[in-house]
Amino acid sequence: MTSEHDILIVGAGPAGMAAAMQLAGLGLSPLVIDEQPMPGGQIWRASEGARPDAVRRALGPDYAQGAGRVAEFRNSGVDYLPGTRMWHLEPGFQVFMSRDGAAFSRSCRAVLLATGAQERPVPLPGWTLPGVMTVGAAQILLKTSAQIPDQPVWIAGSGPLPLLYIRQLLAVGGKVAGYLDTTPRGGAGRALPHAAAAWRGRGDLLKGLKWLRELRRAGLRWLRGVGDIRALGEERIEAVCYTTPDGQLHREPASVLLLHEGVVPSIHATLAMNCDHLWSDAQGCFVPQVDAWGMTSVEGLYLAGDGAGIAGAPAAEARGRIAALGIAQWLGHRLPEGAEPAARAALARALASRPVIDALYPPPDDDIADEAVVCRCEELTAGEIRAAARLHRGGPNQVKAYTRCGMGPCQGRQCGYSVNRLLAAEYGKSRAETGFFRIRPPLKPVRLGELAALQEGREAP
């Protein structure tokens, strides 16, 4: 596999796999790299793995579909490098990656980023205590090793993922102490204006309603309109505190607390490439701007999947196919009759229910408590960021320079949006205007020894 590839696809989730198979179908040969040991991305993570029937049933039909897609991808003959991290992208394109502890670079004409999304960090007091993790991380444990917490878990936050996870957890015999639902009241009213347009996506919405009925039937303790959540404990979480809409403060013993406030596109690579981004009020995040074919404002750099705006797996696959067609066309190939309309129709179908889902689960906008750690790497609290903002009156990059917030190994993935939210509130500016950190390479940490291998010019894998 030392031959040159014109097209590099980063990420082997629904978008990356669909794009690769579409390109292969057009007679082109992309190279697909992915950090994980197996294809499937987050949604279909470890779907090739063997697991007991009970777990398989619990994970549900959407997950089961992944095994088929992964098999199709494997059989497509596309060049695929698992366990490979892209850590730098140079215009033009020169792509820097690491595999098996050594760095190498490749040049290519077009790059498709299908790097997906990350969970929005939930900075609340005590969220760094052992025993507190994200719903997404807990779901990874369930998918990869069928692990579930042996104690009843508290789940706090908002969005479809907590509901899905609760359903899966209950199905494999896990116990839920309670769901602290932070979704603002009045979801039906928010969703109504989008309902007619979502008619074509009614299948998704009906599926959601079915989940809700099941959860209620299962006797889930579901507290709505909860706020001021905090995790308490010395060495690890011992209790969870929250207030209910009647103003009552509650404190209950807790050994596991799972948090989730939605997902946001991974934008480090597109920020580092200086692509144009727009602020999405509906999703509370920056979204890279793309044209009808998924091309960013940087010529030849394409985007598909949740990285182009949160929309779920079916939309990711459709966007992957559209981006593949766009790349083929951009490289001078003719598209087969009908390929484009079919992909666009699939995308429209997959996106139909999204405005309703966004309206039901708006991004959090309450104040972050002063004592909540915002930057986990440098252990800086919201209060410290606010103080630095008052003192220096600077944007995210200046606050970073003054406080070291965002300078640690996570490179601002955990604190970027929190800093944006704090500074916007502090200065009375919009989130869009406040902006994000300037992203310094490498996009992922690289070991000194790994980078030194680049100099040795080792033959690329």
């Binding site: 600077g394 200046q398 070291r404 310094r440 390479p441 940490p445 070991r447 030194a452």
Partner: protein, 373 residues
Amino acid sequence: MTNPDILIVGGGLHGLSAALHLARCGASVTVLEGEFVGRHASGASAAGVRTLGRNPLEMPLSTISMDMWHDIAELVGDDCGFHAHGQLRVAETDAQIAAETQRIARLTAAGYDNETVIGQDQLRALVPGINPKFIGAAYAARDGAADPHRTLVAFRAAALRAGVTIREGAPVTGLCRRGGLWAATMPGGTVSAPQAINAAGAWGARIAALTGENIPLSAKASMMMVTERLARTIRPVVGIIGRSLSFKQSSQGTLVLGGGIQGRYDLDSGRTFMDFHALARGAMAATELMPSVSGARITRCWSGIEGKTQDLLPVICPARAEGLFHAFGFSGHGFQLVPAAGAAIAEMVITGIVPPTLQPFAADRFSQEGAAA
């Protein structure tokens, strides 16, 4: 609004230091900064406080500056994260040791006692874990390093306390002499003052050109790498003779690696671009110096644009035009000079006489050399 006495183009450390010293002498000063304070070379600095291996022409100024660093809180009210843990340049061969010994003997004869040659035992004591192939080093014990951001915050705050006005987001697009005043124009306004200082770093020649003066200047964008935090074992700043590497461990425990490995830059946009093939050479040198660090993860790399002259010495002198002074082109080793250069520039601006410490840095040395060639 009344005009200030002096306007300074450029809110890097040299502009801020000159502003601070001038304000302490009673002048009213306005600093005009195109983006934000410390945006380019000052904010991207490795913050080495080094006399080690310095050009002898800089030594008079550098020596004064070193004394000021040892008392930096006196000047700016904060220690700037400065620690005098020494700087080292390590040698692999006897021939390198011999050359360093000769160089330092010449330095001593000229009256400077800042450097000595040390053997392997002392080197291993100073740098635990160093590759045993390094047999000795040139060592400047009073040298050290500071924290660049703390230094910026401290100089900015001290300047503000002294009454300096700092205008950020004020890129100077025009500079001309009108009715005995320098008028600096920027989007949304003009600031005028009888005297002006061009402390615009890599853009210094462009500012000079606005007044019709041509000073040869190029630029550089030295790249830096920083790792995650490690247990703190290395105190001095370590370089290798003949190699582009400077290796230090910050007080936070991160390894900060630089040494003049060049990235690419664009003066018009102010953006810099990493060259990872070049940085890989630095990573290799670092793992050669200290094999145990090869597993340390690099978390950030950056670079800032700095002015570079033909002889790698700064331009600090009165301009051809009356009432204007230049102070730029520190060529990547200006951080240590900041406290003393600001004081000397203030003296030059106020008295109109170039102090001896600044005399090697006149801009006309380039045209004289040109004429001689």
